[in-house]
Symmetry: C2
Subunit: 179 residues, 2 copies
């Protein structure tokens, strides 16, 4: 049971019964690039879930091979445990390519450091704008339940904190004694 498996299981528990194609659309709408919503990951994952009896499929009799996926009782138990049982590793700082880069600003000439941080700031601002636009679109389309709207605000909390940090960082780096 990978994180992707459990996420898909939770999606089916929340929005199901639904087809694999519908699951794919949920990922496609998502802002985060955690997974690519590619068929090559979703179909195998659903196959694993079915094999583990966490998901049951009822194939419609009609010509269209649209399968209705539903979580079983054991699947529901797995989702509940996944939600409530938050392990230590899950809560740590997340992998962040921008932060990774900032660890190395010291290696370039002092004059170039601000340029790097400013580029990071700009692209973070762009990401914030994209997240706000996505929120507006979601509102307009009336997609998702209230909890989902609240949860997705977490993206903005994260990105705004990054922006604050980068602003602070630029000031600090500028004031650094050039050794």
């Amino acid at each position: 049971m990978t994180e992707l498996d459990l996420t898909i299981l939770a999606i089916i528990a929340r929005d199901g019964p639904m087809s694999a194609y519908d699951v794919r659309k949920v990922f496609a709408r998502s802002l985060t690039s955690t997974w690519s919503s590619s068929t090559g990951s979703i179909y195998p994952s659903i196959r694993r879930l079915q094999k583990a009896r966490h998901v049951a499929a009822t194939t419609a009799k009609g010509a269209r091979a649209r399968k209705a996926l539903r979580v079983t009782a054991s699947g529901r138990g797995a989702v509940d445990a996944w939600l409530l049982h938050i392990t230590a590793g899950v809560a740590g700082p997340t992998p962040n390519p921008i932060r990774t880069r900032m660890y190395f600003v010291g290696i370039v000439a002092p004059a170039k450091r601000s340029a790097i941080i400013r580029r990071a700031t700009e692209s973070t601002r762009a990401a914030i704008a994209a997240a706000e636009q996505a929120r507006a679109d979601r509102m307009a389309a009336d997609e998702g339940d209230a909890v989902q709207h609240l949860a997705s605000e977490g993206v903005l909390f994260e990105l705004r904190a990054r922006l604050e940090w980068l602003t602070w960082l630029e000031a600090q780096v500028r004031n650094l004694p050039s050794k």
Copy 2:
């Protein structure tokens, strides 16, 4: 050139000349679980870097087969480009297992929702404490340069923002009309 390759290249550019073992230690000290600091990823990565002529190795003549790794001119160019050329995909919201889970709090009974959010809050607090401890240890050991210290503050900015968001989230979810 994966993100891991470039990170290793940047580490060697910043802290080198150094051995593969030293690179491994840098990852082991890192708070983020982005990579596992396993030999199975680092040695192949360094091999790729050498093959691409971004890293050169001088094997010490002594019995101990400690190789001194150094970045070449082209390697240095790659690092500089990586630092300055921040692409759009890099700046988006990061994969966050806690946030992922929060999208699904709506599926459990209203009475249980706060418990989930509180568990997330607790483990985030623990992560903050760990990050602060790590900072104190780093200070005591006088490890890393000034820029590294500043960059690692980004972890605390992120975690504190998550805490704020979770606190806000719990209040919002509690006030949600139980449909």
